[in-house]
């Protein structure tokens, strides 16, 4: 009897909790659209965070200049994830509960984005993670409210990987940033090796925040077999420090480096002398695609003193993410979550400053888009334009490189 009482009591508490947590005041007439921008301004990805916020700012200002959406101006509320998942989740809660934001976007670190997307899904708030690439973000941790603007690691690696196998060699050594994005990157790279019959010579797991790479580099020098490619999924300030030391130890002369992704801010920080390797790129400001030149001009006008003088991949994803999110609300004619999700799912847009249109895939919410293959330019090739770090040597269409439904059997939560 006593036991049943406990169970009933527990159920009652759970029921009350359920209603309290799900209770939302009857939508009062809104006067503004609140966009929670949740992105790092400190920690490993501070530079990338600043870059994506520039893109987001441009999109919001352009939309506001045309009268906003649904007759309301859009206001950004910015929070710093500190490149730390725990802080990111805390800030996401704050944005939802205290600031009552209608949507959230931002990210950079996949681990942070995963933490934010859990919070967002619980609260049924749409979250666009703008510059993450871990396959987990639209795989194991996919959510109905979560959309990923940038390409997945699978897309990036299936662009650069086969190119490296064909043109450089099949014996690879891995340098893996030891968190969600890095591990996911190396996992896809292993698939490439398997598919094309390559050999793995080993892996170095690099903890986030590593300053000194000398022992890892010495290890590679002493491998019994010389790797054809040192395939790196390392990013942020850590990558800048690594490039610095790769140069210092003369590894750039004797080895070929491949990178799952090249974030422009990382090479901008180290300069043309230490800019090396072959890599996948999400977007580049010298692409010959419609709208690119105008976008670069608008950026330069808006941010004449930005630490990076041109828009780069993080800025691009921030811009596209914010613009498409707000446009979807306009299409849906409401700020309610479910209609906007439906307006996004399966939507295709072609003013994306790439060669082919981008589609927001309905079943995993991955933006399917062109991925570019790049090669680092030599310092003397930058004489004319000091911002022109990459040589774009090819590209793959999104659907050619993205996971199929069989490869990524996710089930999103039902609409709420």
């Amino acid at each position: 009897m006593k036991k049943r009482g406990t169970i009933v009591g527990f159920l009652a508490v759970a029921l009350v909790a359920f209603f309290v947590l799900n209770w939302q005041p009857v939508a009062a007439a809104e006067k503004e659209v609140r966009l929670g921008v949740i992105s790092p301004s400190s920690g490993n990805y501070a530079d990338q965070g600043a870059a994506e916020r520039r893109g987001i700012t441009m999109a919001v200002e352009e939309i506001n200049a045309k009268g906003g959406i649904l007759g309301m101006k859009v206001r950004m509320i910015i929070e710093d994830t500190e490149t730390d998942p725990a802080a990111a989740a805390r800030k996401a809660k704050k944005l939802i509960e205290r600031d009552k934001v209608h949507f959230m976007l931002g990210g950079i670190s996949s681990s942070c984005a995963i933490a934010i997307s859990e919070v967002a899904q619980r609260a049924n708030v749409i979250y666009f993670n703008t510059n993450t690439n871990s396959d987990a973000c639209t795989g194991k941790h996919a959510h109905r409210t979560n959309f990923r603007v940038g390409p997945s690691n699978h897309m990036l690696v299936f662009a650069i990987g086969p190119w490296l196998i064909k043109n450089i060699g099949k014996k690879w050594y891995f340098m893996t940033h030891d968190y969600s994005w890095g591990r996911s990157g190396t996992a896809v790279n292993r698939q490439i090796l398997k598919k094309y019959g390559g050999t793995e010579l080993g892996e170095a797991l690099i903890p986030l925040g590593t300053r000194d790479f000398s022992s890892y580099l010495i290890k590679i020098r002493n491998l019994p077999t010389k790797p054809d490619v040192i395939m790196c999924t390392v990013g942020g300030v850590d990558l800048s420090a690594m490039l610095e030391q790769v140069h210092e130890f003369g590894m750039d002369k004797d080895y070929n480096f491949g990178f799952t992704l090249r974030d422009y801010p990382d090479v901008w920080a180290v300069g043309p002398e230490k800019n090396i390797g072959y890599f996948a790129v999400e977007w580049y400001h010298k692409l010959d695609a419609p709208g690119v030149k105008e976008f670069v001009a608008r950026y330069k006008k808006r941010f004449p003193n930005a630490s990076i003088p041109v828009p780069e991949n993080c800025c691009y994803n921030g811009y596209i993410g914010a613009r498409e999110l707000l446009r979807a609300a306009q299409r849906a004619g409401t700020l309610e979550t479910t209609p906007i999700i439906k307006a996004l799912e399966g939507y295709t847009f072609s003013d994306n400053m790439k060669y082919n249109p981008t589609t927001i895939r309905s079943w995993d919410h991955q933006f399917i888009q062109d991925v570019f293959i790049g090669q680092a330019k030599k310092p003397e090739e930058l004489k004319e334009d000091p911002t022109d770090f990459h040589k774009i040597i090819g590209y793959m269409k999104g659907e050619e490189v993205a996971r199929t439904r069989e490869e990524n059997p996710v089930q999103l939560e039902p609409y709420r």
């Binding site: 301004s41 400190s42 920690g43 501070a46 530079d47 600043a50 030891d178 170095a204 797991l205 903890p207 925040g209 590593t210 300053r211 000194d212 000398s214 022992s215 890892y216 010495i218 290890k219 020098r221 002493n222 300030v237 800048s240 420090a241 610095e244 030391q245 140069h247 210092e248 130890f249 003369g250 590894m251 002369k253 801010p265 920080a269 180290v270 300069g271 002398e273 230490k274 630490s307």
Partner: protein, 289 residues
Amino acid sequence: MAEFLSQLFNGLVLGLLFGVMALGFMMILGVMEVINFAHGALFALGAYFALTLQKVLGYWLALLISPLIVGVVGLVIEWTAVRRVYQKDPLFGLLMTFGLAMALEEVIRIVWGKIGYSIAAPKFVAGPVAIGFLWYSKYRLFMALLSLILLTAVWLFLEKTPYGAIIKAGVSDSEMVLALGKDLKRLRTLVFGFGASLAGIAGVIAGPMWSLKPTMGTDVLMPSFVVVVIGGIGSFWGAVIGGLIVGLSKSMSVLVWPRLSDLMMYFIMAIVLLLRPRGIMGEKSLLEQ
């Protein structure tokens, strides 16, 4: 074997730099009984001053002047803030220097911006060099040499000059120094300034290797602390040996299990604390009260 020797060598080189970093930290802890959490921030300041000065004055002058400026910053900090927490509960000192560290980091953000910077190594030591069994960075050899010169200079200063004797006496028993009629107040200010400039010069040396960012100080604070705990407070050789142990632990664990390379120093610290709480070469101090 070649890899073993390479990693051993690399560990020793890193260890020397950790030694320089920890030496200043240890001296301040010894004389003032203050765990100086701002030590890392002073290290970062050294690197940033060098970044700016190098463009104007060139490498050598920047190497010389940046640590001096950091030393002056140290004097000012001691004179205005740190001095107020002497003889109080160690928690006050901890909070005070922790706050200072955050404030200095913010100053760096304001002055130099949030973005990371890279300092080029001076031309004559740029690039790699082959020495027998290993390819090594010329800059790191140069850095090891600088660290050795610095450590020797500090050792000579502590052992062979009357000032050194007073500082050593201050480390072992500051009240007795006072009783003997030495100006303890001034001694403390000077030691703080000296410790700060040691942090500064370590920052200047490490800059081209690890690249600059506002939080670079926090990254080296923990290793410095571990070095001091392992080596012991109040001993010059403690800091050097502690530094070498931490350097070696980082490089040698890559041979066995790379994921351990950041953790290894903490395991060693735990073992040392269990067996000999005052550290390998340390004397009885704050950490044992």
